[in-house]
């Protein structure tokens, strides 16, 4: 039985999943992610990282507000929007005010939509959404909400940083963009086209392709097309099996240039690419693990790897979420006054364990931070992924990426 769910089976079966809290003094964070099904690996890994961060960075230091402890309560959303909403309701009934989610922007949209409605209809029982990795730009633009805070860089910022680096490569003449046919894939493609157009009008986008999400069995034909287009580089936002399938097909077909990706690491992907991906795969993302920026970061990773030898810190921003939430609660002086905590978040500056400064931009609740371009390699991979000897190692950094970017957010404050 999952350790974090402290409810008795009988009580739960009786549907009285209400605020029967054994740990009333704990500040609970509802972690709503897939914990069963084919995405469970990512969900469980995120849960461990949350638990570890709460334990070592908050609770071990005496908690917040002079003694209140963080507790991560896990809810299995089965990667389903509907189930996420049911579990959100269960979480709210348990008196939980903080909801953390990040896998799938679709679910993030469903959750923030439900939270907006809940907060409007229940002004005495407010809930806050801590988005640690859903990167659809709309969440901090058209669909922005006062109750939503994003700790990851959004897809546009990442593309901005990525194209900054690409623009410096004079040999780059032709680029192929391929992605999954849904909002995120389209956002990546649109950002790539417009950023490259601004920074290097001479670069030709030789292909801009969408393929059905989680439906393609064999990526070889896409790879053939990429090679036939004589592209020098590939950009893709693919994740999971679609990333592995595409990457392997491209490499097997004899492509020599760089493949710029968002999610080609961890959860078995790094191990699967192994030697074949070396020198070809590049990742754009926040948080630098390799090489470690400080002894504190190295110690933290080592401690985590000691506790979870099969796990990886692959969503390092979780640490930032936990630390910043602790800071905001302390600043607000209350763990229940959600408006005050949200106000404390706005404009908060934080020095991340991973070396970056983080500013929570007030106008759209988007964290501004350093974005790194890493290479999949075994050289300098101090903390490897999947125990494979390989890891993304930071090659270049864009400081405070997107700090002056515009947003279409029209924040409605309470």
């Amino acid at each position: 039985m999952r350790k974090t769910v402290k409810l008795g089976l009988g009580a739960a079966l009786a549907l009285t999943v209400s605020a029967s809290s054994l740990f009333a003094e704990n500040i609970k964070i509802a972690f709503i992610e897939p914990l069963s099904g084919f995405m469970a690996g990512t969900g469980t890994s995120g849960l461990h990282q949350y638990e570890f961060a709460a334990e070592t960075l908050v609770n071990a230091n005496g908690g917040v507000l002079g003694g209140d402890m963080f507790e991560i309560v896990a809810f299995d959303n089965k990667l389903s929007g509907k189930e996420s909403l049911v579990q959100l309701q269960v979480a709210i009934d348990q008196g939980i005010r903080f909801v953390a989610q990040g896998n799938s922007s679709g679910i993030a949209h469903a959750l923030i939509d439900a939270i907006n409605k809940h907060n409007k209809r229940n002004p005495d029982d407010l809930v806050m959404f801590l988005n640690y990795s859903a990167v659809d730009p709309a969440l901090t633009n058209d669909k922005c909400s006062f109750w939503h805070f994003r700790f990851d860089a959004n897809a546009d910022f990442k593309m901005d940083a990525l194209t900054d680096v690409m623009a410096e490569n004079e040999d780059l003449k032709k680029v192929y963009i391929i992605g999954q046919d849904y909002s995120f894939g389209k956002a990546v493609a649109a950002a790539a086209v417009s950023d490259l157009g601004n920074k290097r009008p001479d670069i030709e986008v030789v292909g801009n392709e969408l393929h059905p999400i989680i439906k393609v069995k064999d990526f070889t034909p896409y790879a053939r097309k990429i090679i036939a287009s004589e592209a020098d580089a590939v950009i893709t936002g693919n994740w999971g099996a679609d990333m592995v399938g595409l990457g392997k097909a491209i490499l097997d077909s004899g492509f020599e240039g760089p493949i710029y990706t968002y999610y080609a690491a961890a959860d078995g992907i790094t191990a699967t690419f192994g030697e074949a991906g070396k020198g070809s795969l590049y990742l754009v993302g926040t948080d630098q693990l390799n090489p470690p920026v400080s002894d504190r970061a190295a110690d933290y990773i080592t401690a985590y790897k000691t506790k979870y030898p099969d796990g990886d810190i692959n969503q390092a921003r979780i640490v930032n979420v936990v630390e910043m939430l602790a800071k905001a609660i302390n600043e607000a002086g209350s763990a229940t006054d959600i408006v005050a905590i949200a106000n404390a978040f706005e404009g908060m500056e934080h020095d991340s364990i991973w070396g970056s400064k983080i500013v929570m931009r007030a106008k759209d609740h988007q964290a501004i931070q350093d974005i790194h371009i890493s290479e999949h390699t075994d050289e300098g991979a101090v903390f490897d992924y999947d125990n494979s000897g390989y890891a993304p190692v930071v090659k270049s950094t864009v400081k405070m990426a997107g700090a002056d970017s515009a947003t279409t957010c029209d924040m409605k404050r309470p």
């Binding site: 039985m1 739960a12 079966l13 469980t44 009934d93 679709g106």
Partner: protein, 428 residues
């Protein structure tokens, strides 16, 4: 002839108490439930159950009543739901005076509309051809949901706000409990209508076509048109379920159309039992509980659900309803009490044995995935240490002992079962 007249005399055609009683009890039950389980999440889960009940009953109109195996029934619920969210948004944008409780009707109509189109070519044959066309159409429409963003909203779906409609007797449906009563009304109405449908000429002929389509043809009925009407009716009620989904969750996404949901409803219906009208209702309740409550308890819930399905199919092909109805003859004969003791003697050890196995699986799973050094876990309210050998031995030993007892006592149960179902019962 006197016999016949007597028979018809005792079978009045009006609504009798015995016919109405189950419905009155169900209605009263629905009214009382929110006072027993007051939390919002409990009400949300009950709403989910009610929606699944309509959907499963609608699915059983195909599978159980008309013998059509569909792999794409979610499409009709989904399309009905999507239309309802769009209507909700129109209501909000153009201030259309539409009271919310009427919304599911529109869902039903759009479900019906889609079913009339698809049914026109899919119901020509039953069996594998129908099943595979339903799979193909389901897959096509599910794929459209990602491609046609203008209507389906892509990955993040379409959301609306149910509170923007015309207040219904002053109620704006702000809270889940308001929605609960709305859904309860619709679930009663839909279930009643679906029950009555099975009593109409088309409904009766659907059974006939299921059993023997060729014979039905030689009775003057076109099997194809009987299937078509059943299919359309099923589409209508699936659409109503979709409309209620839209009201309850205020959002529809691609998963509402997907094959996963279509497969799920097949399993739910079968788990409950396709042979009885109330079978899918039991299936919907049990599955929703497993999905929402069991999943809070263990990450392995799908393993248990899968095992439950396989066990049900292998040992109780009539589903849970079939298991319940198996006892009717014994009860009618007044022999039910004979079964009590043998049941206790076999089922209790069997249950403990199964729980012990699941405990063992949980311990195994935990010890494989737990952080290094952490060996304490809680299984069935017992704190145990996985580093020690005791819990392993206890669970395995308990399982073995319990199954041995079950096996030893099973023949007695079988024998009693035959005795209880024999006409002369225990007297012989």
């Amino acid at each position: 002839m006197s016999d016949t007249t007597q028979k018809t005399a005792v079978r009045p055609t009006g609504v009798t108490m015995s016919m109405a009683l189950p419905w009155l009890i169900a209605g009263a039950f629905l009214l009382v439930m929110p006072y027993v389980f007051t939390s919002n999440s409990a009400i949300t889960i009950m709403n989910q159950m009610a929606i699944t009940i309509i959907f499963a009953l609608s699915y059983n109109m195909l599978l159980g009543q008309a013998g059509m195996l569909s792999f794409g029934h979610a499409v009709y619920m989904g399309v009905g739901g999507f239309m309802c969210v769009h209507i909700m948004n129109y209501v909000e944008d153009y201030s259309i005076p539409l009271p919310l409780p009427l919304l599911p009707l529109f869902g039903g109509l759009f479900g019906l509309g889609l079913a009339t189109i698809v049914g026109s070519f899919s119901t020509r044959r039953a069996g594998t051809v129908f099943a595979m066309i339903s799979l193909g159409v389901g897959e096509l429409i599910a794929a459209c949901s990602i491609i046609i963003v203008a209507f389906f909203g892509g990955e993040e779906g379409v959301s609306g706000d149910r509170t923007m409609g015309l207040p219904f007797f002053g109620n704006e449906f702000l809270q889940q409990i308001d929605v609960y009563y709305l859904i309860s009304f619709w679930v009663m109405l839909s279930a009643l209508l679906m029950f009555l449908f099975s009593r109409t000429p088309v409904g009766r002929m659907a059974n006939a076509v299921r059993d023997n389509p060729e014979r039905a043809e030689f009775l003057g009925y076109s099997a194809r048109w009987v299937r078509y009407y059943s299919f359309c009716a099923a589409g209508f009620f699936a659409g109503i379920a979709g409309g209620l989904f839209a009201i309850s969750y205020e959002i529809l996404t691609a998963e509402n159309l997907g094959l996963l949901l279509s497969g799920e409803i097949l399993l739910i219906t079968f788990l409950g039992g396709v042979g009885f009208f109330f079978g899918p209702i039991i299936g919907a309740i049990v599955f929703t509980l497993l999905q929402t409550v069991l999943s809070l308890q263990t990450e392995l819930w799908q393993l248990y659900v899968g095992a439950l399905f396989v066990a049900t199919v292998m040992f109780f092909p009539g589903g849970l309803a079939g298991v319940l109805m198996m006892h009717v003859p014994a009860i009618r004969l007044g022999n039910a009490k004979l079964l009590v003791v043998p049941y206790i003697k076999t089922l209790i050890p069997a249950t403990i044995g199964i729980l012990a196995i699941s405990g063992f699986i949980e311990i195994l799973f935990y010890s494989r995935h737990a952080p290094v050094g952490e060996t304490e876990m809680t299984v069935f309210w017992t704190d145990i240490d996985t580093a020690s050998i005791v819990p392993w031995i206890v669970t395995v030993g308990l399982a073995l002992v319990c199954f041995w007892i079950t096996k030893r006592n099973a023949p007695e149960l079988v024998e009693t079962w035959h005795r209880a179902n024999a006409i002369d019962g225990g007297k012989a």
